[in-house]
């Protein structure tokens, strides 16, 4: 437990130190995306890694958050911070209402139901042209502002988004080490036994589903206000699957793992530009190899390497002494 917080502090320092090395430009822009993806992966991990409930429609909560914030500011001139709160609350309520019927389902059936919801949202975003601008997107979304500080450049956005991402991570670590976090993992391992212990599994699953949706909606709002332009293509089925991949590759139930997964999947497409048209093949192969050799994800892999290094060091010391 203490290790998690220590790691978090080091990580936060690192995050805030990074811009001293890259003052701007393309890489910083990629890191902004990485921050948003980290938020989304951590949010999905609460549901998938902790409670063990799949969602193949999480991009839709991200999209609803982005569009709610985008439309209210660009079309109706609301204050961006206010719209983010409205978007988070609205999406949270929607997820709460949706969660009761669909979280009764398990495994493949839950996957299908959330998939269906994601597709419905995607179609609605495309078809309600008058409201959303349809497939050609919605533009003119204002940047966030604190006093006279307007978040309009990559550097400012980097600090803004990573602050949100770090807060998300910290809160999730808190949750993981609490009775709620344990109850969620208990549901994951044996729902029957968790209920016998007095855990209201059904309600808790719905609550965590909503919390996860709220965080995704906030990430959506941040995305909209940073990009100033959004279109439905960013919130489709593909992105939902990518989010699940981030969580699984990173390590189920590991908050830092979610960051690693998000980081890898954000950077990988950029790195793979060198192999040009074959990028998707290499991408797929890498994911297959990683799931085969790191069943506990990147977080598990890093932990295993760390243990190996330490035991080698201990042995080296013993040899030197012996």
């Amino acid at each position: 437990m203490k290790r998690d917080y220590l790691l978090f502090i080091l990580f936060a320092l690192l995050v805030y130190a990074v811009p001293t090395f890259f003052k701007g430009g393309y890489l910083l822009n990629v890191l902004v995306f990485m921050g948003i993806n980290t938020m989304l992966a951590v949010a999905l991990n609460l549901l998938l890694g902790f409670a063990g409930q799949i969602s193949l429609g999480h991009a839709s909560f991200f999209g609803l958050g982005a569009y709610c914030s985008g439309i209210l500011t660009a079309t109706y001139g609301f204050n961006p911070w206010l719209t983010m709160v409205i978007a988070a609350a609205g999406v949270g309520l929607l997820a709460f209402g949706l969660g009761f019927p669909i979280l009764k389902l398990k495994g493949h059936y839950l996957a299908m139901a959330t998939l269906g919801f994601g597709i419905i949202v995607y179609i609605v975003l495309n078809e309600t042209v008058a409201l959303t601008g349809g497939p050609s997107g919605l533009s003119g979304i204002p940047n966030l502002k604190i006093g006279t500080l307007l978040f309009d450049g990559d550097l400012k956005n980097y600090y803004l988004i990573w602050t949100f991402a770090l807060v998300t991570m910290l809160l999730s670590i808190n949750l993981a080490h609490s009775r709620i976090g344990r109850a969620l993992r208990a549901i994951h391992d044996s729902e029957v036994a968790s209920r016998v212990m007095g855990v209201n599994a059904r309600l808790l699953k719905v609550q965590i589903f909503s919390l996860s949706a709220v965080i995704s909606a906030v990430a959506g709002g941040l995305y909209a206000h940073t990009m100033s332009f959004i279109s439905p293509a960013s919130f489709g089925f593909n992105f939902s699957v990518e989010l699940v991949t981030m969580v699984v590759i990173g390590g189920l139930g590991s908050i830092f793992g979610s960051f690693l997964g998000a980081a890898l999947l954000t950077i990988l497409p950029e790195l793979l530009r060198v192999v040009q048209d074959y990028d998707i093949v290499v991408y797929g192969l890498l994911l297959i190899v990683m799931t085969m050799y790191m069943p506990k994800g990147l977080a598990g892999g890093v932990a295993a390497c760390w243990r190996l290094l330490r035991s080698k060091k201990v042995k080296a010391v013993e040899n030197a002494q012996g």
Partner: protein, 250 residues
């Protein structure tokens, strides 16, 4: 303490339990026995809210708890263990026991997210209490071990520690001695007595007749979904119907 009244369970066309009634005395150890397929586990599943019975009622200290889901029974002090051990295998032993304390702790999602001082104080209290239950079951040294890595016999003890953390008034144990060697069974017997001496009413389904006859104050015998007999271990051992059901007719 616990009263089962005319409980009937029909699965499709199969009658698993038919009009079963009995009482469990407060502070006693009651055994439910019967040949395979007698309906013992079905009865347990009904009492503990995993199944909803086709007919009949269950009362806990005169309160009708028929059809209550398990998560509502835990706060009322009714807890069970499982025949096939339902461990939270990816969690440590201590965390398993901490889940047992869930219904007696209050911090909501928000205070857990924000780590409010009240939640921290509660967490500290919970950990202390969880340790006392590990000690109670003689597994204090295993707190940090991942539950999935434990041998079978230890899993039983973790399950009991976890159930005791719920602070039960009545504990139902489904075949607690199954898969245990004779030494582990002897330890289990001591532990069950210790639990009874704390004032917890114990009901157990068990196939180990030696254990049942040894520790039970009362026994209920089921056969083919019906209650065959009820009485003290001595009465049951001498009951001709029971002998016939177990050994067949001569």
């Amino acid at each position: 303490m616990l009263r089962v009244e005319g409980v009937t369970q029909i699965f499709g066309g199969l009658t698993a339990l038919e009009d079963v009634s009995f009482r469990v005395g407060k502070g006693a150890i009651t055994g439910v026995i019967g040949p395979n397929g007698a309906g013992k586990t079905t009865l347990f599943n009904i009492i503990t809210g995993l199944y909803t019975q086709t007919g009949g009622k269950v009362f806990l200290e005169e309160a009708d708890i028929s059809g209550f889901p398990p998560e509502r029974l835990a706060p009322r002090g009714l807890v069970r263990t499982f025949q096939n051990i339902e461990m939270f295998h990816q969690m440590t032993v201590l965390e398993n026991v901490l889940v047992g304390l869930h219904s007696r702790s209050r911090s909501g999602i928000l205070s857990c997210l924000l780590k409010l001082p009240r939640q921290l104080a509660e967490e500290r209290r919970m950990r202390e209490e969880a340790h006392t239950w590990l000690e109670f079951c003689g597994i204090a040294d295993l707190g940090g071990v991942e539950a999935g890595a434990l041998p079978f016999g230890k899993c039983r003890l973790v399950e009991i520690a976890r159930a005791m953390a719920v602070n039960p008034r009545i504990l139902l144990m489904d075949e607690p001695a199954a898969g245990l060697n004779s030494r582990e069974t002897a330890d289990l017997e001591l532990l069950i007595r210790k639990i009874r001496d704390m004032g917890v009413t114990v009901v157990l389904v068990e196939h180990d007749m030696e254990l049942v006859m040894d520790i039970c104050d009362a026994i209920v015998v089921l056969n083919l979904g019906k209650k065959l007999a009820e009485g003290t271990p001595r009465q049951i051992q001498e009951n001709p119907d029971v002998i016939k059901a177990y050994l067949g007719e001569g």
